[in-house]
Symmetry: D2
């Protein structure tokens, strides 16, 4: 392996907690990926195609997986020991795509070794772990990014634009159905696996944080995690969100409804085109005596409009944002604090679900600004 | 008006609570309808076409509505006083299609006057009222029927057949979405208006009664009833049901998913054909070591089958069942006890909703058998 | 029957061919309907609700059908002899909803008796017959209207508006699929039954007339008319239209595609909403050397827009237009000349179909303007 | 390059026309691909993964394309001269994925050099060329395969099974719509590009050959090939087929209807699941006097059934069939004779289209058996 052409930052030395902030690498950013299972190959493929970045090494416990890497990327070195990557001074950033139970220790070790970190979602098993990672990364001036890919897709970007511009009026509710006959996960329940996508879309599109959660769910097969859950999120301003997730549905459904006072939005991910539709529809109040008996509520039914949304690969966009966050020090949209909020909502929802719907109030972790 | 050819039952005398049971009418059954607003015209049209029954009179506070009746049914007499019908000895059965707040007093008066009663859903405002009506009707041997039309439709009949025959295996969950840009009701919330359809389908198809309910909902416009609600019903055997209802959705959705261990069912009311589909799909456990890492869960993906369901008008079937219940004394599928159970679930769901999802346990009213 | 309050026009006298033009009736227009089979009841119901018009009489050969009329419309007189209506001086207009083989003689008799005439589609069996009716009506100054209901629907009105305003650019093609498992007609083939709807939409929306027709079709059951046909219409300016009709399809399809240089339109009649969609999509030519190998053709993929189209009953609109045409003398959009053009296209298409696709050139009948 | 381990067949010597038949290679089959444009990469990827075969070389005029090959397949050699592959004694089979105008000369040279040949569709520009290739291949005992991928897909295999088993009854019609906003081709019209898929499905599923063709079409942009066409195929037994293809539609449609006397089939390629549906629907004749006026035609409306079709990559199946045909000498389902029939139908349809629908009768080329 050729020597790195980048200056070593003092942060590379372990235990440099109070040390001065890491300096961004000046040349090409070398990336190591830990975990080459289900999602790892997508990460490697994307990082390999990024400008100003280079896939440098891949670690996985399974030698067969590593063989595939070598065949496809002859210039990337492989190892069964993740710590080889963490120790490698030529690597600037480490992406972790291993089971969630290993996220905290690997990520903390990487941060302590001065590496910028990309973590698959959910960020960690507990919010305390997530908080510790955020503090470590911020103390060291390192990028900490969590892979909530959905918020980088064209349709979610468009949703945010419509909501944040005020064009749709006051936001009233969010309602998502995300079900299919899915792979039962071993180490996470269906909330961590599927509902987390909606939690991330909610946070990103509306810039709002729930104050309470009520959830119900069930595991139909003993010894497996919950495979079906219904989650309601409450917000301070009366906005309400509902998420229906299941691994046990005969058909695949991926729909979102967003209700606002002036416009309403539907999103159907499975449509080949016109996935996102904006309806000029809603409710309006009237003093028309003829309609008093209908509670003075009238209906507007206007046109529907499906904006053209260019087809880009979200993971490519997200990779670019990660590289920029390393380069400039500005946080990516799904940084550690974002990932922490997601873990907090997962925790609250899972806790409510196990209490058969008892409402759980969310108290944010205190983080120094 | 020609005199009735039927014997008068002693029950016709008011206050005959302990009197002997009403005798079924021997000839044509004369029906009076109270309320000719949104749903009344459908009732009148259907009763007018029933065999062995005759539309006799219509009462409504609005003279304009009564004029329409006279124009279309010259032989039906009309009145603005509902009690004219209750007092009329020629009338054997009274159908009540007025706002829910008037159901109890009108139905009780009709029962006390010895009339068989058909009530629109929801049966009453409170379960105590419903219980009192059930007791009155049973004491007098009068038919008490609640119009839960959905359970008389072909697809729901087919669902019951599939579930009750055991063909689909163990029942796991029921999941319904019933939303549209709907008429805001004045006197009932969206649970009473829409979710009640699912409560009735659940009771009829599965013959199971929920033990607890958790619901969340909101009224987006001050002074109006809740216009959106998410309800989860828990059952003793681990079965779970979820109902998503809204008057504030940009698109109309009417879908039901039923998950069972051997087959799964989908129902889409808005499809022009093949509304009901049966999937030979599911999950099965395996000892295959290759799949251990996937929790030993495998998937079966077999054929799909859409049974042909003849198109009949549910209200006509239901009217026939009502007439039979008068004639034979055998309860209709949606009799007073059924209607009472629906009111109990509505009460529990509404109570949970107002407590932001706090679980409410259902305790059945004690009714003598 | 009370005497008419209208002046009698001299045209009422038979044989008044060269007489001066009929005067429009001054009061309410009395309408007689001949034929109370499949479509007649719709006509009667609509005429009964028209302003300034009154259903006066119905003739049908079947006494059972007439009984239904009397029951529903006690003030409308009935007869088994169509000529009773033609002779009745109180009737101003006659609608003919009988089998097509009787259209010509009934309509001609009605015109000669000075009645305004409404004819079901297709107008007549042959274009010569249609031409004779047009000439008779025009000589007498009587309204002659053909019931091509489709052109009075909201979506077709909107198509015409989009095309005629030039907003969609140069019109390139029209492509319709109109198939289902349909009632095999006795006296007309599938072109007369279904394709005629497209011929009328084409004429109305584009104001263009085909110069040649090529059609193929088949009757799968000996002794029945053709139950499936594919028709291509050629136009002078390169515009092309294609119509696919069938009574033998397992599913019902009703879709139209309209291709234009700037916008494209789709219409799906069976959608519950957003039936009509306008796509800002198309092809554009480029000089970009990179794209030379793709014939310099580029693609525009812009937004889609579904205009809100109020839901009105086309037959009510059409009835109103018929009454206006009687009142004012101005032709309705589907007057006799329009109906004649439809018969000409049906004739040409049927002729081509029987010649296994041999192209038939259309020569318009000469009509004095 | 390491020397081949296979015996050289005498057929490798150029000009061996009358020589004895080629012997099938005994070991791994080395494949060369000519053309690495739109489709070539798919071929190379598939051949690279075939058992008992090996990607050996790729030729393309464009060095940039070849660079991509080298990067991804370091062991495959590349050249800008197609004849390097044809001359290479280590290569047993050559796949040709170049513009159709070059198919004949390249394929003929490859056959003369003793290579087995895989040709992209359409096989050649003219049926005379196709016939010459078939004769050359048969004389030399070489496999000649045309890439009509569609017939190797699961749904088309299932269609053939349903039709050939007789389960669906007598076949009545085939109706396909295959439109989208597509790439305008430079060297072929929309019939060669899209309708050819239907021609191949028709031949494979029904084992029938059309006796006449009527087609209409248009090129909306001067100097480009026809971008829209409607083709009707006539068969001896009354079966009829219709194909609607376009590069100028705002939406993508891929649907096939197959009508038979006992069952009907629909296929919608764009559905995420249940693409193929079998309807127990149809027409039946009756002597019921009530229905005489409806031509004694009644309707059967039974269940619908969507068979589960495993998801396999058609190109992988097809590659395996090609290798087997080389190995065993048995023709693949889309061999040269099949490809020749496709070219004949394209020729006839294009000829009819240019004559504005005039019917063209198909006369099969005489081929010695």
């Amino acid at each position: 392996m050729s020597a790195s052409t980048l200056e070593k930052s003092p942060a590379n030395a372990p235990g440099a907690k109070a040390a001065k902030k890491a300096q961004p690498p000046k040349g090409v950013i070398n990336i190591g990926v830990i975990g080459y299972g289900y999602w790892g190959p997508n990460l490697v493929r994307n990082f390999a195609e990024l400008d100003n970045a280079r896939m440098h090494a891949v670690a996985d416990l399974n030698p067969a997986a590593l063989e595939k890497v070598s065949k496809r990327y002859p210039n990337v070195y492989t190892t069964t020991d993740a710590h080889d990557l963490i120790r490698d001074p030529d690597i600037h950033a480490i992406a972790i795509a291993t089971p969630v139970s290993t996220h905290f220790s690997l990520a903390m070790a990487a941060l302590k070794a001065g590496k910028h970190v990309w973590l698959e979602k959910p960020m960690t098993e507990t919010s305390l772990q997530a908080q510790a990672l955020v503090e470590e990364a911020e103390a060291r001036g390192l990028a900490l990014h969590v892979d909530h890919t959905f918020i980088y897709t064209g349709p979610v970007q468009k949703m945010r634009e419509l909501v944040q511009s005020g064009e749709v009026g006051k936001t009233l509710y969010y309602d998502s159905t995300r079900v299919n006959l899915g792979l039962f996960q071993r180490d996470v329940n269906v909330i961590s696996d599927l509902a987390v996508h909606d939690f991330s879309i909610l946070d990103y599109v509306f810039d709002k944080h729930p104050i309470a959660v009520s959830a119900a769910g069930i595991n139909h097969y003993p010894g497996t995690p919950e495979n079906l859950a219904y989650i309601t999120l409450f917000y301070e301003d009366g906005f309400i969100a509902h998420v229906n997730v299941s691994w046990l549905a005969p058909v695949k459904v991926r729909t979102i409804l967003i209700g606002c006072s002036d416009k309403m939005i539907t999103y159907d991910e499975l449509q080949p085109s016109e996935k996102l539709k904006v309806y000029d529809k809603g409710v309006s109040f009237t003093d028309d005596p003829e309609k008093i008996h209908q509670m003075r509520v009238g209906y507007r039914a206007g046109d529907m409009w499906a904006p053209n949304i260019p087809n880009v690969e979200a993971l490519a966009v997200e990779g670019q944002r990660f590289v920029e966050s390393i380069r400039t020090g500005a946080a990516s949209p799904s940084d550690g604090r974002f990932g922490l909020r997601m873990v907090e909502v997962i925790e609250a929802a899972t806790s409510s679900m196990r209490g058969q719907g008892e409402t759980v109030h969310l108290k944010r972790k205190e983080l120094a600004q």
